[in-house]
């Protein structure tokens, strides 16, 4: 119990401490000294939190109520397998991106604020993974939005602030749609605790149609955070302006909160209830549209981070597609995709961050010959890209394999077959938008002037996290069984 | 008014004219020519009093109106074949005389209307000395110009 609480509240309090302690910008003579102190503190906090989280995960079966908001609304935590997985992913991504920022954020102002909110986000993510009922989940879902917004708009340009607000309002909008559903669910169940299919049988009989509508609204609502069409527009706006590590965290983990939410919700309703209904059909349609559209937009996008953002939109809907299909294979595919995409996308964003940090180039066509300057980074990029495209033996291949199998196995007419086709097309597109960077980076062409190029490989603080993430993305493909246990 | 509630023997003309319901309007109208005339006169007077802008004409209208009412009263008070209630030759039967009260009312009314007319005339004189016109609209215009 204490481990769970500590893993949640320690980072939050630590973050608040940093916010207050370093509330003024670092400046003057003691700037370097102060910065060192800040980094030291942050690093300690991050590692401590990670350890605490690990400890919490080891006591996995624990469940407890912290306190009651009202008599019937407990703040309740429990650790289940899904939560464990998400929490592991969060821990790794947060750590990697965190250490990456130590270097990356060197030139930004108000680092104290950044790390403060970073830590808070860490705590909130943990809480989200450990949340045991809808209300607790909703609480931390909102907090996640609020605490991650400052990360998005950190660099403080007009664009960044607007993007931050856009992110905020989209997310809130989604969260409120979710809340709308929660209001009704509360009425038709004994408890909001996550069980499989906890609705009253009578309620299903009497209000079946309405409950389906509620389910759809909730999926749409939480889908906003997961970048599902038609509410995906915040992602391409928010990513380019955020600092790269923040983008990595956002894209790898925070959007997954939406996925987690949808997993929880669909479980809550129960597969039996949703299977074969119009909700499933509509949902699958939306995800397929998102997959295709995301890839297409990414393909046409010249700005690197924006391209990655669209890619996220597309890839996340793979996960959602798997969830929407609702059978074992598809579900495993989804979970694998969560992990694979998490590692890959974090790695890609960190690579992009490294490019930007070292060369200041943000557009894809400026990256010609980058392989000469930063070979290690570009290699990582390439491997991660392969993962995203789904080339064996990376994680991406396994997850997509399961997704396709699941889809074909399901008895959904038309869409069951259409799904894998779109997955394939999208994979091609993915290759089309990621690989050219590798190709041009290593082979800028005969006419390219290579003379000004020189080694610019970034420091260890940046390369090591990228390497770790890249490695993990491959490992997950090699040992998929380690996560396949989560069905049931 | 000798017996408690003696009605005059004929109906009132104007109402018949206005209503148009009565079938025997013609004979009634003819029989009640006195009332008809008084009603018409009343209307003339009323209209004059209301619509004329000249003060003197208004006052004349007032007098026509009042006179019409007196005519009406006098007409009502007279019953053909009877005489004024002054006992001269010892006839004391009430059937022989007319009711004296309408005539009394006429007299009272005349007094009232004379006094009112006098007041109106005096007011008119005041206005005339002040504004040198008898036209009420013009006086209003001048007042507006004075701005008070």
């Amino acid at each position: 119990m204490y481990c769970i609480l500590l893993s949640i509240f320690f980072p939050i309090l630590a973050g608040l401490f940093l916010l207050i302690r370093f509330r003024t910008p670092l400046a003057g003579e003691k700037k370097n000294e102060d910065r060192k102190k800040l980094l030291l503190l942050t690093g300690t906090f991050l590692v401590t939190t990670a350890l605490l989280t690990a400890a919490a995960l080891l006591t996995a079966t624990e469940r407890f109520t912290l306190f009651y908001l009202t008599e019937t609304l407990p703040i309740y935590f429990k650790i289940d397998t899904t939560g464990t997985l998400f929490s592991l992913l969060a821990m790794i991504v947060v750590l990697c991106a965190g250490f990456f920022s130590f270097e990356y954020m060197k030139h930004e102002e108000r680092e104290g604020r950044y790390y403060g909110f970073y830590l808070i986000v860490f705590g909130v993510l943990n809480a989200l993974c450990f949340a045991g009922n809808l209300i607790t989940f909703y609480l931390f879902f909102e907090l996640l939005t609020l605490s991650s917004m400052p990360l998005v708009l950190h660099c403080g340009t007009k664009e960044a602030v607007m993007a931050g607000l856009k992110y905020l309002f989209y997310s809130l909008c989604g969260a409120y749609a979710g809340l709308f559903g929660i209001y009704f669910l509360y009425q038709y169940t004994d408890t909001l605790t996550f069980f499989h299919g906890s609705l009253y049988v009578t309620a299903i009989a009497e209000h079946g149609g309405f409950l389906l509508l509620i389910a759809f609204i909730m999926i749409l609502g939480f889908g906003v955070k997961a970048g599902m069409f038609p509410m995906h527009a915040w992602l391409p706006t928010a990513h380019p302006v955020a600092p790269a590590p923040a983008s990595a965290l956002l894209s790898a983990m925070i959007v997954k909160a939406g996925v987690l939410a949808i997993i929880r919700v669909t479980h809550f309703f129960g597969d039996d209830f949703l299977q074969g209904t119009w909700v499933q059909t509509a949902w699958i349609c939306l995800t397929l549209v998102t997959i295709f559209m995301g890839s297409l937009l990414a393909y046409r996008e010249p700005i690197l981070k924006k391209r990655l953002a669209y890619s996220t939109v597309s890839q996340l809907s793979y996960i959602l597609f798997g969830l929407a299909v609702m059978n074992e294979e598809a579900y495993i595919g989804s979970v694998l995709q969560v992990l694979a995409h998490g590692f890959v996308k974090a790695a890609l964003f960190l690579c992009a961050g490294a490019f930007i940090y070292k060369t200041g180039k943000t557009r894809v066509d400026e990256l010609r010959g980058i392989g000469r300057e930063m070979p290690l980074t570009l290699w990582c990029w390439t491997i991660a890209s392969l993962g995203l495209i789904g080339i064996p033996p990376t994680g991406g291949f396994i997850s997509k394999w399961y997704l396709a199998i699941g889809s074909l196995k399901s008895n959904i007419p038309v869409l069951g077959v259409l799904g894998p086709i779109i997955l394939l097309v999208s994979a091609l597109l993915t290759a089309g938008y990621l690989l050219p960077i590798t190709v041009r980076g290593f082979f800028p062409g005969a006419d390219y002037d290579r003379n000004p190029l020189e080694k610019k490989e970034p420091g260890k603080l940046m390369t090591v996290p990228i390497l770790i993430l890249t490695t993990l993305s491959v490992l997950i493909g090699l040992f998929p069984d380690s996560v396949a246990f989560i069905w049931h | 008014m000798i017996d408690g509630r003696r009605k005059f023997d004929i109906c009132v003309a104007p109402s018949h004219k206005c209503s148009g319901i009565e079938v025997n309007m013609g004979p009634n109208l003819l029989a009640n020519y006195g009332e008809a005339v008084s009603a018409i006169l009343f209307c003339i007077g009323f209209t004059n009093l209301l619509l004329q802008t000249n003060l003197i004409k208004k006052i004349i209208g007032l007098n026509i109106m009042d006179s019409a009412i007196y005519l009406f009263l006098a007409e009502k008070g007279y019953i053909a074949g009877r005489v004024a209630p002054i006992v001269v030759d010892g006839v004391t039967s009430t059937e022989a005389y007319i009711n004296p009260i309408p005539s009394g009312l006429v007299l009272t009314g005349i007094v009232v209307s004379v006094s009112v007319t006098a007041l109106m005339l005096s007011l008119t004189i005041r206005l005339y000395t002040r504004y040198h016109t008898l036209d009420l609209d013009e006086i209003s215009m001048q007042l507006k110009k004075e701005g008070r």
Binding site: - | R5, V12, S15, L62, M65, R126, L127, R130, Y131, L136
Partner: protein, 497 residues
Amino acid sequence: MNFVCNFPFFSILLSLFSGTICSVLPAKAAKIVNRVVIVVVGLLSATLLLYLISVGEPFIYWMGHFPAPWGNEIRAGILEAGMALFFCIIMYLSMAGGAHKLFDEVDESKHNLYYILVNLLLSSLLALVYTNDMFTAYVFVEINTISACGLIMIRQVGRTIEAAVRYMIMSLLGSGLLLFGLCIMYDLTGHLLMSNIKESVALLVASGEYQIPLIVSVALMCVGLCIKSALFPFHAWLPDAYGYSTVSSAAILSSLVSKGYIFLLIKIIYRVIGFNIFNNTRIIDVLFVFGLMGMIFGSTSAIRENDVRRMIAFSSVAQIGYIYMGFGMGTQAGMVASVYHILSHAATKSLLFIAAIGLTEVSGGSRKLVDLTGSGYRNKWAGVAFTAGSLSMVGIPLFSGFISKLLFAQAAVQVEGKMLASLIVLGISTILNAIYFMKTVIRLYTATGNSPYRGITFGKMKRYAITLIFFILLNILLGVSSQPIVDLIEQGLAMFS
């Protein structure tokens, strides 16, 4: 016959003759005589009221001991006595409140003339209240008109004379119609005494003969009195007449004179035609509609007005609309509400006129609303009084206006077909009232900081201030302990029939 029964006659006669006496007295003495007469008449009426309450039934007083169909009669019931008392109170307060202003407005040599007119007015009002004879009523209507006209034009400026002429013309039209209607009624029934006419009318209605002349006669009388009491749309004369005459005149005219006519109308309805017979005619619907229209149009005109006294005058049009709306409902409750509103409006409107004069005095004599800005600070008592009057007009509980609104609304609910119309108009009219009165009140208390006008202290206007206090108290008295008054009105109306 108890000695008290002479009191109505005494009071009429007293005020009539004191008027004549005033003509030969110097101004100061005339003033004293006038005040004394009002007080004495008030006391007489009060005694009479007490007597009637104790006896519990009305009495008829034969003038010169001629019995019923021949003689002239006076009749007194609770309502009559109460009305007379109330008129005296209002008249006294109005005279007291406007006394200091009289020297500015009227040449001192004419002061005794002024008091003659006031006394005459009082006597004619009393006669209207007490008389049981239609023709007498007509004669006193004319006397009332003449004296009212005199009160208007006693201030010799062009505007008042013109207003007097206009007032005269409208009044004469009204009294002409009244007289004509009365003659037809006489023709139909052969009587002039109200009680006798009523019997005859009842027989006539029962027999079904002469229905149309009967209705014409009633309609003529109603229209005549409506014109005289300035019911919309016959109100054209009113703003000028109230707006430019001396302040006491305005207060008296608005609160008493028109009320005298209305009271006569009530008497005609109850005592001459019979309440039920009257309610079966279409006339009440007409009165109702014009009442409602008056409520709206009077107020909208008042909103547009930027002269404070004319504004108050227009507000009278609206208030008279209320009263006629009560008539138009055709129920006992509506009538009670109307009668109560007569009292309430009389108390409030005279208060407003008197308070307005205090405010204009400290604003350089200007009565434009713009100039009144901040005058509530310069003349505190008048400001408070004006506010109180306005609140009463708007219908804030504690003040009399609220009770009359309450009574009207309660009465309206009981009338099936007219309920919604009257309730909604009541609501709208309250809003309109709020708009122009509250606008003015806010203006009174908007300090401009550097006003060119000097303020006035309590010491310099003791009498005036005390008058105002009495007015406010009267208003609150009507508002707080309305139950006994309403009971009295109900008893009085019961005595009518």
